[in-house]
């Protein structure tokens, strides 16, 4: 088990190295500079002072070396924009994104599986067609557009839900208010993965239903309920787990938009700020952390998978 995890993490290091190289050279070779040095009124001397202060007068390759050296020691540098450690800035925001995505995953997986199973069982009937059609629509509607419409309807017209923000935290935390804040972002973010889960569950279920062992179970005289919900579903859900792993990067992509629409101050809105203000250390830091999140969540998915599917050798 431990060896497997270490092994996977080892592979991830290589992967992360490629990712950081791509990102670092991409952002550093582009025109423009950190916003601090890019104020319109700043004099050339002021600009120079800031550039030197930030060490941007050195060649890119040297800076990458330095960055990598620091990063390997766990130091992701200091944000240009706020002079705070990048780690702090990210961890200020990351919980919100995790909160949002975890809720979304829970919501999408539960709802998605239920709908997908219904669709598969009612194959070819009206319910199935409706679900199929809806999920393609779900895939096709731009989520930002839908988000705006939601705000327009539920916040502006009906005034049921707050248009944005994460709601009060700490002492002022209040569950009802919190749920009111999170419900629209979760639904909108779900639109980016829910249709996939529905479609995948459906096809997985259909695939399983056509398997020989389902015939065997029927031949043994099992009730149809047991056939579908004990035997078929159990098998059908195994591939769904891997799909969740695949969908995580997509979910994080969707989070950028969702967080922007709903003022959900997570990592998604931070990357926009970081990219816009050319906060190189912050961009790099977010890239590293996000990639790590993806890698780790895939690892978790694999571990879960190996627990659920006996065909995968149990991790000793």
């Amino acid at each position: 088990m431990l060896r497997f995890i270490l092994n996977r993490l080892g592979q991830s290091v290589v992967l992360m190295l490629i990712v950081t190289m791509i990102t670092f050279f991409l952002i550093n070779l582009a025109p423009g500079g950190p916003t601090g040095a890019m104020r319109m009124e700043a004099s050339p001397e002021e600009r120079q002072a800031i550039i030197e202060r930030l060490g941007l007068d050195q060649p890119v390759i040297v800076r990458y070396g330095q960055w990598l050296g620091d990063a390997l020691q766990g130091d992701l540098g200091t944000s240009f924009n706020s002079s705070e450690p990048v780690i702090k800035r990210i961890f200020d925001r990351l919980p919100y994104t995790i909160e949002l995505t975890v809720f979304t995953v829970i919501f999408s997986v539960t709802i998605g599986i239920i709908i997908g199973v219904i669709s598969a069982i009612k194959r070819g009937r009206a319910q199935d067609h409706f679900i199929n059609f809806s999920s393609v629509i779900g895939l096709s509607v731009p989520s930002f557009w839908l988000g705006l419409m939601f705000i327009l309807l539920f916040s502006v017209e009906l005034k049921w839900l707050p248009a944005s923000g994460v709601g009060p935290r700490g002492e002022a935390f209040d569950l009802v208010t919190y749920l009111k804040h999170i419900i629209m972002p979760v639904i909108i973010l779900s639109m980016t993965i829910l249709p996939n889960i529905v479609r995948f569950t459906r096809s997985s279920m259909l695939e399983v239903i056509s398997q020989n062992y389902i015939r065997t179970i029927r031949a043994k005289g099992a009730k149809e309920f047991i056939v579908l919900y004990i035997h078929a579903l159990r098998n059908a859900l195994i591939p769904v787990i891997t799909v969740i792993g695949v969908l995580i990067p997509r979910l994080l992509s969707g989070a950028v938009i969702t967080e922007t629409i709903f003022g959900w101050t997570g990592i998604g809105s931070l990357i926009i700020e970081a990219a816009n203000s050319r906060d190189y250390p912050l961009v790099m830091g977010i890239t590293v952390v996000i990639t790590l999140v993806v890698v780790l969540s895939n690892l978790v998915v694999d571990l879960v998978y190996s627990k659920v599917d006996p065909r995968v050798k149990n991790l000793a």
Partner: protein, 296 residues
């Protein structure tokens, strides 16, 4: 007794019905996919011919003034700067579709080459290419697009390249998987046994088998590229005005959601419809190719 020759020349009782139902007949049976197909044809014709016919240009400020309502002269009214929305929809559609098509073609090209080479040549080539693919997949593509466009600028060409560069991995994986699968087929080995060179095997034996999957990926890619373009436009990072695209029209319109909702509804609906059509077509093609297709 019959001679061997006339036994075999005598018509066989049957040619085994091996999925003789081809691609097109199967697609034809899928009503939604066909509807989507024709809708797309019509839409593309309108969008590519329309601007040649329609009298207004998308950037000129008409004398009608801003935010005018529906009229014969301006079937969709005018926008905040008094420009003809119909003309903008036509031109915007053209750009949007071009971006979608070009990004799709470009990412298919990258994805196919990388996937096919990794799958076919194996070994070091495979390791390197698939590691890069995995690395790219681990970056949520929107993060990549966002950072890349922020720093590289937003000319249409750049938008196309960046979208393509962020989306080829899925294609590469599909092609890689398919290549691995087909590589094991005996007809490929037979070609090898006949002494065919690797490149010939790849191009004549493997790529043609993978092509249907590529086509399916292609249709779904367009849908994805259009959505991505409009999403980055929503964040103000897409193709910039004055060039209209449905995405930046929508972005511009969100300020007017309350006062002139039609400005937002039109491009939003257009994007949704076209993405929907491409998705339905892609699904149809996929089902036509393999009724038991499970992935995605």
């Amino acid at each position: 007794m019959e001679t061997p020759a006339n036994i075999e020349t005598a018509p066989e009782v049957e040619p085994v019905q091996q999925r003789k139902v081809t691609f097109w007949t199967s697609l034809h049976r899928n009503k939604i996919a066909m509807l989507a197909f024709w809708f797309l044809i019509v839409l593309h014709v309108i969008v590519f011919i329309g601007p040649l016919v329609w009298s207004y240009t998308p950037t000129e400020m008409t004398t009608t003034g801003p935010l005018a309502n529906w009229s014969w002269a301006h079937p969709f009214g005018t926008d905040d700067l008094g420009r003809d929305v119909f003309a903008r929809m036509l031109h915007g559609g053209r750009i949007t579709l071009l971006v979608g098509l070009a990004a799709m073609l470009f990412s298919l090209l990258i994805g196919t080459i990388i996937g096919a080479c990794a799958g076919f040549f194996g070994k070091v080539v495979e390791s390197i290419l698939m590691r890069v693919t995995e690395a790219m997949m681990a970056i949520p593509n929107f993060f990549f697009v966002l950072v890349a466009l922020t720093v590289l600028g937003t000319s249409p060409m750049m938008v196309i390249i960046v979208i393509a560069c962020s989306g080829w991995m899925e294609v590469a994986r599909v092609v890689y998987g398919e290549t691995l699968k087909w590589k094991e087929y005996e007809f490929v080995e037979a070609a090898n046994a006949a002494g065919a060179k690797p490149l010939r095997i790849l191009i004549k034996y493997i790529i043609p088998q993978v092509l249907p999957s590529i086509i399916v990926s292609g249709t779904l890619m367009i849908a994805w590229a259009i959505l991505t373009e409009s999403a980055i436009s929503y964040l103000g990072l897409g193709i910039q005005p004055p060039t209209p695209t449905w995405g930046n029209m929508l972005q511009n319109a969100q300020q007017y959601l309350w006062t002139a909702p039609v400005l937002g509804i039109l491009p939003g609906a257009a994007i949704t419809l076209i993405v929907l059509a491409y998705n339905f077509l892609g699904d149809g093609l996929r089902d036509a190719l393999d009724p038991k297709f499970v992935k995605k």
